[in-house]
Amino acid sequence: MRRFLLRLVFVVALPVVLLAVWWLASDDSTDVYWPPLRTILKTFPDVWTAERLRTDAFPSVLRLAAGYATAAVTGVALGTVIGSHRRVRAVCEPVMEFLRAVPPPVLIPVIMLFAGIGDTMKVVVIASGCVWPILLNTVEGVRAVDSVMADTARSYGITGAARLRHVVLRSASPQIFAGLRQGLSIGIILMVISEMFAASSGLGFTVVQFQRGFAIPDMWTGILVLGLLGFLLSVLFQLVERRVLGWYHGLRASTRRSR
């Protein structure tokens, strides 16, 4: 019980201190750009009504989900194919290295040419930005399947789909998840940016509208919402990761101990 309390103190203490400092330091602020925290929090419920969440937050998240899911499926599927064939990998490597190195937001003008400024454009932008880290990490993970494990699978007749499902993808999963995590943060960036470029709804659009209209406290609430969204998605990701990669963390911990 005491240990639990101690841990709780550790978790809560610094955030409380920081918020208190922000609160006190900004309390009598007259600087228009740095409104008092009190004002921001008071504005929050007025700005982020259920209606606004439905019309702005929900479409943003939906587009992110669609683009991210597309990227995950494509990246893992292509990565598995490329990773399991040495020649294919050699052919694709330089092109993939180049495409990965292109900063994803510059794709927005290109994709706008093809897909206009609608939802399709945003989904395509998000997907085409997220796909590279996922693809390249999958290639690495699939390539690095342990030779003894591969021999084991072969000698016990584990081939084809079963080999892919039970051996290759599972053994590459730590790498794949590293790629998925990088992809997620790129996805959130692209979600916001694509809405700042051209949109009539969405979180990025709304926040920029507030800024252009000099509704400073409203803008601050928007920044808070984006921060919260990033945090929540990261928590969600960790929950999934801990479930899928539980074995990997256990394995790492056990080799660390025995070292």
Binding site: F10, P103, P105, V106, I188, V192, I193, M196
Partner: protein
């Protein structure tokens, strides 16, 4: 073996470029949207002779380098301090976990209000985004310190500074290098993004101008430039990483964090 791989890679690149030429020529996509490789190459050559292009490239590189340097110093110092001072790691964990996933682009409106399209706008975003990469890897690296080495150092009466210098830093270095490599890539993304969205001078802004003036081949050429820049940074960072770690028994992969 290596030669064969190189040849295959070159072949892949050639096919990629040839497809880029053939697809619009055959009318599979509109040439106005997707100019053939040769036109992009022309535009690219045109850019190279334009002094404004070189200024833009310089601006982008300045934003990238300054932002990365600030983030790297801050990240390493913060990481080491948090690890060395007792209880600081436990106390900061929740805050770091909360602040890290906040998308840096959420700060764009604030940056615009505070600094307009000055370099400082770019730096705000770049530093915020790259700082976490360095900090997290540094923290992981320090945690990887072998307890036996640490106890040995303690039992021989090494002070805090000596322990940091001789035990903690060498162990953490591989992780720090990984953090720097990731941060370098992230910094470029954010530099170009800030220029594109806010309009701070640089390659990103130039892409924006090309887009608005319907100069499609130039837009593609500039995108290729950013890609080449990114490639150069990746390759450079990786070779620095490898050289710095030549002594290390295993040049290790990234941590899944």
């Amino acid at each position: 073996m290596k030669g064969a791989n190189l040849a295959l890679g070159a072949a892949g690149l050639a096919v990629f470029l040839a497809l880029g030429e053939a697809v619009p020529r055959l009318g599979l996509v509109k040439e106005a949207y997707f100019p053939p490789t040769s036109k992009i190459a022309d535009a690219f050559a045109g850019e190279l002779t334009d002094s404004a292009f070189w200024t833009a490239l310089g601006d982008t590189l300045t934003g990238w380098a300054v932002g990365l340097a600030v983030a790297a110093c801050a990240g390493i110092v913060a990481g080491v301090v948090i690890s060395v001072v007792p209880y600081l790691r436990e106390a900061t964990a929740s805050t770091i976990e909360f602040l890290r996933p906040i998308p840096s682009v959420a700060l764009i409106p604030l940056a615009v209000l505070l600094y307009g399209n000055e370099l400082r706008s770019v730096l705000l975003l770049v530093v915020y985004a790259s700082f976490w990469q360095v900090l997290i890897q540094t923290l992981y690296g320090v945690r990887d310190v072998d307890p036996v080495a640490e106890e040995t150092a303690r039992s021989y009466g090494l002070g805090t500074w000596a322990r940091v210098r001789y035990v903690l830093w060498p162990t953490a270095l591989p992780y720090v290098m990984t953090g720097l490599r990731l941060a370098a890539a992230v910094a470029l993304i954010l530099t170009v993004t800030a220029e594109l969205v806010i309009g701070s001078p640089g390659l990103g802004a130039r892409i924006g101008i090309a887009q608005n003036s319907q100069a499609v081949p130039d837009m593609y050429a500039l995108i290729v430039v950013t890609g080449l820049l990114g490639l150069l940074i990746n390759v450079g960072a990786r070779s620095v990483e490898r050289r710095a770690l030549a002594w290390h028994q295993s040049v290790r992969g990234e941590v899944t964090v």
